[in-house]
Amino acid sequence: MKDFANLFTTLDQTTKTTAKVNAMAAYFRTATDADKLWCIALFSGRRPKRVITTTLLREWAAEQAGLPLWLFEESYPIVGDLAETISLFLPPAVGHVDRPLSGWIAELQRLSALDEAQRKAGILHAWSVLPQTERFLFTKLLTGGFRIGVSQKLMTRALARATDQDEAVLTHKLMGKWTPDTTTWNALIESNDPTADLSRPYPFYLAYGLEDLDKLGPVSDWFIDRKWDGIRGQLIIRDGQHHLWSRGEDLMTDRFPELAQLIDVLPNGTVIDGEILAFKNEKPMSFNALQKRIGRKTVPKSVLKDAPAILMAYDLLEYDGQDIRDKPLETRRSVLETLLNSTPKSAPLRLSAQVTGDTWDDIANIRATSRDHHAEGLMLKRRDSPYLSGRKKGDWWKWKIDPLTIDAVMIYAQAGSGRRANLFTDFTFAVKNGTDLVPFTKAYSGLTDAEFRQITAWVKKNTQQRFGPVRQVPAEHVFEIAFEGIQPSPRHKSGIALRFPRMLRWRHDKPVDDINTLDDLKQMLATYG
C-alpha cells in the first residue's frame, strides 16, 4: 500500500490541480489492475463496508498504545479525525508489511467475516506493521469513512491521460452500480462493450449558475424551461427493465415504485433526464411533500396517495438504443415530445414545458413567478447544444431565484471537523419572539476563513456555558441566513425547518433588536411552505 499512500500524500499536500492529475496518472500507469480498480472505486465513493464499530477501535488503539482511553478521547478533538488520531496515537510500526492496496482490502473483507476476537487480532496486527500514513488509510477503510479531496472529474481526467481514452467515454464507463467485486479493470475500463451493464446511466450534464445575462445574445438562441424543485433523475428503460438514478449516482428505482409502469409506455432503449416531483392535480407539489419520501426504503400506500411521484422530462439521451447526446438539443427535444405525446396522461410522466418570451425582460418576469410553480428558477440551454457530461460552462446555465433570507442572532457555537477542527464554524441561530430568543436553525458555511477565525477568537473569549462541545455565547452577532425552502417541523421548538440554510453575510451593521421574528418565519411558512 506504500505507493497508494504516496499518492494519497501527494494529493493531500498539494493545492495544485495539475500536480494532482499528474500524480494520479502516474499511479494508473504503474499500479496493478486490482489496485487501479480499487483506487477508482475509492475515488468514486465506492467504499468497502465498515468492519468494526468506532467504539471498539478506540479501545483497541488505547490498549495497543498502552495508554488510558481518556487520553485518546482528549487527543481526538485536537486531531479532528478518528482514523488519523488512531494512526498517530499508536506507537511507531515495527517492521513493515508492504501488501498492495487490493491486498489490504481483501484482508479487510476477510476480517469482516470473522468473530470479534479474530477481527481484533487482525486489526492490531495490521496497525503494528503499517507506517503512519498507511495505518491511517487502513483505519479509514476499516471505519467505512474513506474520503479523499479529489473530485471524480479530476480522477477521470488522470485516468483518461493514463489510458489514452476520451474523458467523456471514461466518465460514462465509471457510472452505474459496479464494485471491484463485481467487475474487473478490463471489463470496466479496457472493454468497449456498451451492453456490459444495462443499468449504466449517462453522466449528468450539470449547469453553472448564470454569470452575465448580457453575454447570452438573443433570446431566440435559447431553449428555456423551468428548473423544477425536486430530485434530478435519469430513467433508463432497456431490455424490459427500468432503472432510476439520482445525480449522486444513487439507484432510486425502488423508492419510486409508481415509475415502474413506464416500462409499458416507453420503448426499450430509452433514457430520459428529468426531475422527480411530487405531483397532484396537474401541478407540482412543494419539495416538502417529496422530502417525506426521501430516505425511506419502502413506500407505504398512504404516501403513494398523498405525494404521488412523476418524472418531469427535460431531455432525451438515448432513443431506440442509440446514444443521441451529440445531437442538438432541439432535435433531442422534438423526439422527446413525439415520444411523450404518445404516452397516456395516466402515466407518471410529463414534459417540462418550454417558456417563451420576446426579450430577456419577458423571461425575467417569468422567472419571478418561479416560487408560485414550486420551481427554483429557470434553465437556459443553447438550442444547438449537445448533452455534455459533468459541469461545463457556456451551453447551459441555471438562473435561480434569489434565496429566502432572514436576519438572526447567533446563540451557540461548535467547532467544525476535519480541516476546520480548530475553528468554531457550526452555529445555532435564533429569531425574536416577544422578548425571548427562539433557536430555529443551524448553519456552518458561507463565511470566509478569516471571518471564522475572527468569530472563533470571540467565542473563546465570550463562552458563557459549555454543553459538551457546544458553547453558549451572548446574543450579539447578527447574520443574514439564506435558505432555499421552509417547512413545518413539530420536532423543532420554532415549529419550522429550513432547507440549505447558510450564512449569507455577517451583519456587523445590524443591532440584535432589529432581527426577524418568529412571526416573520411563520409568515414565510404560510407563503412558501
Binding site: 493531500d12 493545492t15 495544485k16 488510558p68 487520553l71 486531531v79 479525525d81 488519523e84 498517530l88 480548530n422
Partner: protein
C-alpha cells in the same frame, strides 16, 4: 512536640511571572521586574523592560539585538552563581542556541525551570542535558501522545528531496519557518549543494548574529528589492511564516511552498496552512521526549506550563507525580496562531 513545617516553595507563580522569593528574582517574567533570569531569546520569554537580565553567553547577542541596550550579565552552562544563598546554574535545554534550563538550589532543595526544551539533538543547539531535581517546571506544547517527531535523518531526506525535485524543474522552494532557531536548524539540515539559499530579512538578521558568535551556517543570500530573482531559479527560499503567502513571496515564480512546524503532524493543520508540503519539525519536545525528560529528572513535583497543561498534568498525576497546572503567559507554538515561538 514537633511540628513538621512544610518547606516554602523555592519558586512561586505570581502575576509577574515565576518568582524566587529567597533569591528575589524572576524567571522569564512577562511584566517588568528588577531582576530577570532568561531561559532563551524567544519573544515570549525574553521581554523588554526588566531592570537586570541574566542569560547564557550564547543567548546574549540575540537578546541584545532584540531588546537593545539592556543590563545583561551572562553565564556559561554549568557555572554556579549565588544570590541570597540560592545557587543558580544554567543547563542546555536543546531548544535553540543558548537556551537553558535554570537550576536553583537552596538548602538541598533543587528546582529546575526548563523554559522551552527538546530532547533530540538538532545539530545546532547545545544538546539537552537532564538535570536531577525535586521539582521540575515543564512545558507541554506538544503534550499529547499523537505528537511524535520524524527522526532528524528522515526529515533531512524529506526536505532535500522536495528541494531537489523543485530545483530540477526550475521551481523555487519556499520554506516557512521561525526566524530564531528553526531557520538555522533547517540551514544546518539541508544539502547546500542542491542550489542557492535565499533568506528573508528577519531570518538573515538572526543568521548574522549567530555566525558572528561562531556558529557555522551555509552561505545565504538576503532577498532585497535589487536581487535578480530570475538568476536564482531553483533556490531554497527561507521565509518567515507571515511572509510565506504574502506579496513578498510573489516574486519567486514559479514556487512550491512548505511549512516547517510540529503542528504539521496534523493533517487538518497542514491543509489549513494551504502549503504544498508540511514538514514535521519542532524545537519543542514531543510526547516521548517530554515523558523521558521528566523521568530523567527524578522529580517528585512537576509543574506544567504552556500547551496541553490539564491533559498532560492529569497524565503525570496518574504516573504518580505530584503534578499541577501553572498558568503562564508564554505564547508557545500555539495551534491557534502557529506563529509564536
Amino acid at each position: 512536640m514537633h511540628y513538621l513545617v512544610p518547606m516554602a516553595d523555592l519558586l512561586s507563580f505570581t502575576p509577574n511571572g515565576i518568582y524566587c522569593e529567597i533569591g528575589d528574582f524572576y524567571i522569564d517574567p512577562w511584566r517588568p521586574v528588577p531582576r530577570a533570569l532568561i531561559t532563551h531569546g524567544h519573544a515570549d520569554h525574553a521581554r523588554p523592560g526588566h531592570g537586570h537580565y541574566l542569560a547564557t553567553q550564547t543567548a546574549a547577542p540575540v537578546m541584545r539585538h532584540r531588546l537593545g541596550d539592556i543590563a545583561l550579565d551572562t553565564v556559561s552552562y554549568g557555572e554556579t552563581l549565588s544570590r541570597n544563598g540560592v545557587s543558580i546554574s544554567f543547563h542546555p535545554a536543546g531548544h535553540v542556541p543558548g537556551s537553558a534550563q535554570i537550576r536553583l538550589e537552596h538548602k538541598g532543595e533543587i528546582w529546575v525551570c526548563s523554559g522551552d526544551y527538546k530532547t533530540v539533538d538538532d545539530g545546532l543547539s547545545e544538546p539537552f542535558e537532564p538535570v536531577k531535581c525535586h521539582a521540575f517546571i515543564t512545558e507541554s506544547t506538544f503534550g499529547l501522545p499523537v505528537f511524535k517527531w520524524t527522526p532528524q535523518d528522515t526529515l533531512a531526506q524529506q526536505i532535500n528531496d522536495w528541494w531537489a525535485s523543485n530545483a530540477a524543474n526550475g521551481t523555487f522552494s519556499m520554506l516557512g519557518c521561525y526566524a530564531l532557531g528553526k531557520a538555522q536548524r533547517l540551514l544546518r539540515t539541508v544539502d547546500p549543494s542542491i542550489g542557492p539559499i535565499l533568506t528573508h530579512g528577519a531570518i538573515e538578521n538572526t543568521n548574522q548574529i549567530l555566525r558572528a558568535q561562531g556558529i557555522a551556517l551555509p552561505d545565504t543570500t538576503l532577498v532585497t528589492p535589487e536581487l535578480d530573482v530570475a538568476a536564482q531559479k531553483g533556490a531554497l527560499v527561507l521565509a518567515t511564516p507571515s511572509a510565506l503567502n504574502s506579496t513578498w513571496s510573489r516574486r519567486f515564480k514559479p514556487h512550491s511552498t512548505a511549512f516547517a512546524s510540529g503542528w504539521m503532524a496534523l493533517r487538518g493543520v497542514r491543509r489549513r496552512r494551504a502549503a504544498d508540503r508540511g514538514f514535521i519539525v519542532s524545537d519543542h519536545a514531543d510526547w516521548t521526549g517530554l515523558n523521558a525528560a521528566i523521568a530523567q529528572t527524578s522529580a517528585e513535583r512537576v509543574f506544567v506550563t504552556h500547551g496541553y497543561t490539564s491533559v498532560f498534568s492529569k497524565w503525570l498525576a496518574e504516573q504518580g507525580y505530584d503534578a499541577q497546572v501553572v498558568q503562564t503567559e508564554f505564547d508557545g507554538e500555539t495551534l491557534e496562531t502557529g506563529e509564536a515561538e
